[in-house]
Assembly symmetry: C2
Homo-oligomer: 207 residues x 2
DNA sequence: TGTACATCAGTGAACGCGCGTTCACTGATGTAC
DNA sequence: TGTACATCAGTGAACGCGCGTTCACTGATGTAC
């Protein structure tokens, strides 16, 4: 006996509970995906329908989590910075001997160049934030300041103000080299940007 | 006697000739404005209606000049790079004594920071081009290569390959510092980025 | 512990706005005779 | 040199698509009794 069923109603995609715990999980997943997407494609790359589909949901439910697309961006941007720093810190090997060397090697690595979605938000978003509102600018300023401090702390103990300026210059070199290495189509030139950036950053750090 | 005229037809905005010469002028003006707007707001900032209004025209005529918005971008992008370099070269004082010093001072000046629309396209667009098609990437690579060469040429005559790498590193530092100085809301931090970037670029150039 | 009900996360069709593009039209340009 | 006509730069209404947002609805959650 052959049984053909036409027009089957698609089975419930998931058990689809609506518990508070599941909402919190979904909320966090949406934010994490948005933080990646932002670093990958910029603030303008966030598309509500696409984002929700990526999270395994439909777009209508978006507004149970966020008041608007702008509200999401305001929440996802700090997340992008935090996640990017966690990754950078993980890439740093032993902070004992040569902290700057490890940081620089991880920052200007081919892996970091090839994966902006999981990398430093300063480099991924500086160009966009240069044209953005005060909010994002203040956020970037705060994280850049912290990064310059961290670099300065790893230098030989000299004048703190001078060390901070060196920290800023190192960050400028690293961010510039990474952005340019990503913006160039020529693989050799891109590799050379990483290499010369590493050399320059270390030279600046050991003056 | 009082004479009230209602519903007057607006006078022809201009003599409005349609000569070949005027078309060429309009075409050039549209491109120049687009090249500025792109550096100011990025590739996505080009709005056909707004651009044509800025040029003193209406949007319908746009397609007498360009096949599409994409076609305009393809023509305006090289223009943005060329115009930005013309400006940078003009800012360079006497190329005799200390060519790098003059270039660095002009590049990381407050004037350049505050006027991306008329400044270097590499810094203005690197973030966008990192996510763009091969075309824009090849263009940026070409102009960056030329800039690194120019910087290298101004250094003491040593190993050309090493000088080129130094040129790239100097460009990374300058571009990074300028982008970050524009992306930050804190005036003091922004000024410090310019200053430390100038010091670092000169230090790299005189190793 | 069991039952009734309110809440609300998630669904998917529909709406409205912005924007790139099209098109019928105008009138000066510039060419053919 | 003058006249008739074809060309085409520019106009502005209209179209269509993408996308953020809204809304009526579903059904599991979780609370009140």
């Amino acid at each position: 006996m052959v049984c053909i069923i036409l027009n089957v109603k698609p089975a419930r995609k998931t058990a689809m509970g609506h518990s508070r715990a599941e909402k919190a999980e979904n909320h966090d997943r949406i934010l994490a995906l948005a933080a990646e997407r932002i670093r990958e494609g910029g603030l303008a790359a966030i598309n509500v329908v696409e984002l929700m589909r990526t999270a395994g949901l439909t777009h209508g439910g978006f507004y149970r989590h966020f008041a608007s697309r702008e509200d999401l961006l305001a929440q996802a941007l700090p997340r992008a910075f935090a996640d990017g720093e966690a990754r950078a810190a993980a890439g740093k090997p032993d902070a004992g001997s040569a902290p700057l060397r490890g940081f620089v090697r991880g920052y200007l690595s081919k892996a970091h160049r090839g994966d902006p979605a999981h990398g430093c938000a300063i480099a991924a978003l500086a160009g966009d934030i240069a044209r953005a509102e005060p909010g994002p600018k203040a956020l970037l300023a705060d994280r850049l300041d912290a990064s310059a401090d961290a670099v300065a702390a790893g230098l030989g103990g000299e004048d703190p103000a001078a060390a901070y300026r060196t920290g800023l210059a190192v960050m400028s070199t690293l961010v510039g080299a990474l952005i340019l290495a990503r913006a160039v189509d020529d693989r050799d030139l891109s590799d050379l940007l990483l290499q010369s950036g590493r050399e320059a950053a270390l030279a600046l750090g050991s003056r």
